[in-house]
């Protein structure tokens, strides 16, 4: 089984999508998730282009990744300048990433029109930048921007650009369909030509989806000999997006027999897709191949019963191979065995046929119908499961909360005030606090009531707060899903709350976050 290398650019090209705006924290979480999943390269950003990307490379160095190599992205040196005096190139080195990708022009028209330089100087820029960076990085990857358009316009020049990169010592040359307009047969033929010209070169493909063929183009390039594929999770990216790794990986691995990620890792594909969609705040289209909610949904009665008998009759693959599941119209069979597996992770052993497990499956299904998603909120799932088995003590009882937001025309900002009433260890606590907004006021009042009893809660702070509107099923009014990410300096955890009311959804996620901290400290004997 031949290996195809996966190069993820969700954090760089993906973040160019309209509406996507990853925080530093998001980027670090996604990088770790990608590493766990088993991608080979993670392009983290363009160091120096903005403070967030620069910080990313600083922080990611301190995180031990299992398998993936972090990649800094940048450009060739500027025309007419020395490579060792180019601040953009300097920033790449300073990033400390083990691998660098630089892009250069391979379409003659772009060299003269956009770059305003000579074709010869462009070749020099490519050669010098690659060979210079080879001194500082384990690997240098060259992105041949607009390669296919360039090849169609001037094949000799496009090939010369690749040669300059290879002569400079590039470990990989990547053929980019930057405008995304290519069709599969062209990609196949041109990639073949490249490999005929440079038989020992390692070649990759970087496709965009403008002609709705990015996945097919990537697959065809691999069939023609490319062995590195660039793309993003869920195909996010500017305009129509990048090639969708969530489709490419199973196509290559399950259908064409390439070695891409481990078989067990592939089962985490659906979870990864949903995780990124949550953090990107881009709802996953239901009909997304392999990972979408409807990807293995059977509606028609005939289909459904045939599928249950022999799944290959109406399914192109077994959904469990990518961690998705078959849905038979409304009533689906949520995975008991998956949950059992999850419970084991939480330290709970149950028999697969135990009625308690079945009840828990039902409860989770019910919550999912209401709009809960536990992919990015595992702490809430852990609490839910442990509560179900009576493993979480009652740290406090809720009595009431109240939040008031008021603004007058003479005010610059509204005033937000919250009051909270709880019973903690038999004591009635009634607290009030102001905040920048209703949620921060509520958070402060809640902590005021609890910190006296549980001083370790002072270590907890919120690092992220996300809100999503969910319209789960027709006819229901819209619900709000709040995701909170917390840390106590040693751990990080996510919690979730769903309600028609954003304040209530926030309250659920907030209290789960604090209870989780109390539970974990207790489990570890820290209190």
């Amino acid at each position: 089984m031949e290996k195809v290398y996966i190069y993820d650019t969700t954090l760089r090209d993906g973040s160019q999508a309209e509406g996507v705006n990853f925080s530093l924290e998001d980027k670090l979480r996604i990088a770790q998730k990608l590493d766990e999943f088993g991608v080979d390269y993670i392009e983290g950003g363009w160091p120096g282009s903005n403070p967030k990307d620069t910080l990313f490379f600083e922080k990611i160095k301190k995180i031990k990744l299992r398998h993936a190599k972090v990649v800094a992205f940048g450009a060739t040196r500027r025309p007419g300048k020395k490579v060792n005096e180019d601040p953009q190139v300097e920033n790449l080195i300073r990033s400390g990433a083990p691998v660098v990708t630089i892009f250069g022009k391979s379409w003659d028209f772009h060299v003269t029109e956009a770059l305003k330089t000579s074709l010869e100087e462009n070749l020099q820029m490519v050669y010098e930048t690659v060979s210079y960076l080879k001194n500082y990085f384990q690997e240098v990857i060259f992105d041949a921007e607009h390669f296919f358009d360039g090849y169609k316009n001037n094949p000799e020049y496009a090939m010369q650009v690749l040669k300059a990169a290879l002569d400079g010592g590039a470990d990989w040359v990547i053929l980019c369909d930057t405008n995304g307009g290519c069709l599969p047969h062209e990609v196949y033929e041109i990639t073949k030509k490249v490999l005929e010209s440079f038989p020992s070169a390692k070649v990759g493909i970087h496709a965009h989806n403008d002609s709705d063929c990015a996945v097919a183009n990537s697959v065809m390039a691999v069939l023609a000999g490319a062995r590195q594929v660039h793309g993003t999770i869920n195909g996010i990216g500017e305009r129509t997006g990048n090639a969708n790794l969530c489709s490419i990986i199973p196509n290559l691995q399950l259908k064409l027999g390439f070695r891409v990620v481990g078989e067990e890792n592939l089962k985490k594909l659906t979870e990864l897709a949903r995780f990124v969609s949550e953090l990107a705040n881009m709802p996953l289209p239901k009909n997304m191949p392999y990972v979408g909610d409807s990807a293995f949904t059977h509606k028609a009665g005939v289909h459904a019963s045939a599928v249950l008998k022999r799944s290959e009759t109406y399914e192109h693959i077994d959904p469990s191979l990518v961690g998705n599941r078959r849905k038979i119209t409304v009533s689906d069979m949520a995975g008991r065995s998956n949950l059992k597996h999850k419970l084991e992770e939480f330290g709970i052993k149950v028999d697969e046929n135990s009625p308690e497990l079945l009840k828990l499956v039902e409860k989770i299904k019910e919550l999912e119908k209401e709009g809960y998603h536990f992919e990015a909120a595992e702490a809430s799932l852990e609490l839910l499961c442990k509560r179900h088995f009576g493993l979480v003590k009652n740290y406090f009882d809720f009595d009431a909360y109240r939040v008031l937001i008021a603004k007058r025309h003479t005010d610059d900002k509204p005033v937000s005030e919250a009051t909270v009433r709880l019973i903690v260890e038999g004591v009635k606590e009634h607290t009030a606090a102001l905040g920048n907004g209703p949620v921060s006021a509520l958070d402060r009042a809640l902590r005021k009531a609890l910190e006296e009893f549980y001083p370790n809660l002072r270590e907890v702070h919120l690092i992220d707060y996300k809100v999503r509107i969910v319209n789960e099923s027709e006819g229901t009014s819209a619900k709000v899903r709040v995701l909170i990410e917390s840390t106590d300096g040693r751990r990080k955890w996510g919690t979730v709350g769903v309600s028609e009311n954003i304040i209530e959804a926030s309250w659920i996620a907030l209290t789960d976050s604090l209870v989780y901290k109390l539970l974990k400290d207790e489990e570890e004997g820290l209190t």
Copy 2:
């Protein structure tokens, strides 16, 4: 220029999508729209399978179509029965459609396992049903269900099925990738094989998107010689959907030089896509190739200025060819020339060096630093620009608002109450309302105060509400960005509000939405 025939199955296969439920009226409207656009065949449904489909064929007969042929869809006769005694076949004839498509099994495994009959009897069913229906229809199309899977399993038998249909007089044989799992190179090779075996046959392709290659598979089949393509508008359909005609048509016509629809008609593609998405109640993904809102959006400053100079540098086609348009999003990287361009769209002409333009650029940059994004909120941008040039009148003055959210342990849900005080045309309005959450309460109270004076606001309703936490720069406290999408049935617009306080951010976006409606109605003389 060779002709490729487009066979639309939005009304039949498309309506199998989860969440799609066309009314009879919807189906008739879509059929007319498809006809105007210039598709060749419109598959209307399966007569007899449900009353709606039966009625569709009755009604559509009375509507004069310009070009398209209406097609009734059904199955071959049942095993062991006479074709002229099969009520399902009888219903097809009774539909009165000029063209019929019948599907039959071409995967041996399905014949024996699902149909529970012999391979020989299945061939008879195909032959007899086709030849019988030839007496009643102008054209008979044969859908070879599971053809590719069938071919891979038993090529001789799959070919015999096609032969039976052709011997029976089928005008077209359609190769169906029913499970949608094929890859482009397989479709190409197998379609080639079919045409080698039946050189005079007219062959078509019917692809599903389970391996994310439906568009590519359709294109590859055409390259191999297929001349009829089945698909749906926006690729709607069960599971991962059918092949998306909105991508296939421009790929074939603009890139491969086939004659598909008229050049002028192609310019209605985006409108058609949006029309169907509205009736299907499936929001069009922004990143959909060719027709999506973001398909020709340029964000980065370098790209944007290059695109304005020479669009082919960063665009695979001219967006106007498919009726879409280029969007230069105003981002902090964007400069004066982009804004000038935008102002022209709003009907405001200014000199590029005017100090007023410069001030506006500064104002927008300031807002973007605060966390505003105008990409999805063009109405807010338009209001901002028009206010800057004194083109928006003061529809009301703000005095105060107040929102209270309260929950007690005995309550199921929190109570949300809002009060609003405004001065409208000199009158002090003081209103109160409840809501599911704080924002809906505020929205209701605001409308209560305004609708009396501006009854056309009753036409406005919110179709989407999005919340995003923005941490623009470290050290600042988190801000909330609220995006609201509104419609009045004729237009759709997006507005944005940013604040540390979610209620205030929502208030800004809500009031902008209503003011925008008032402004546009006034501009169009509707008030």
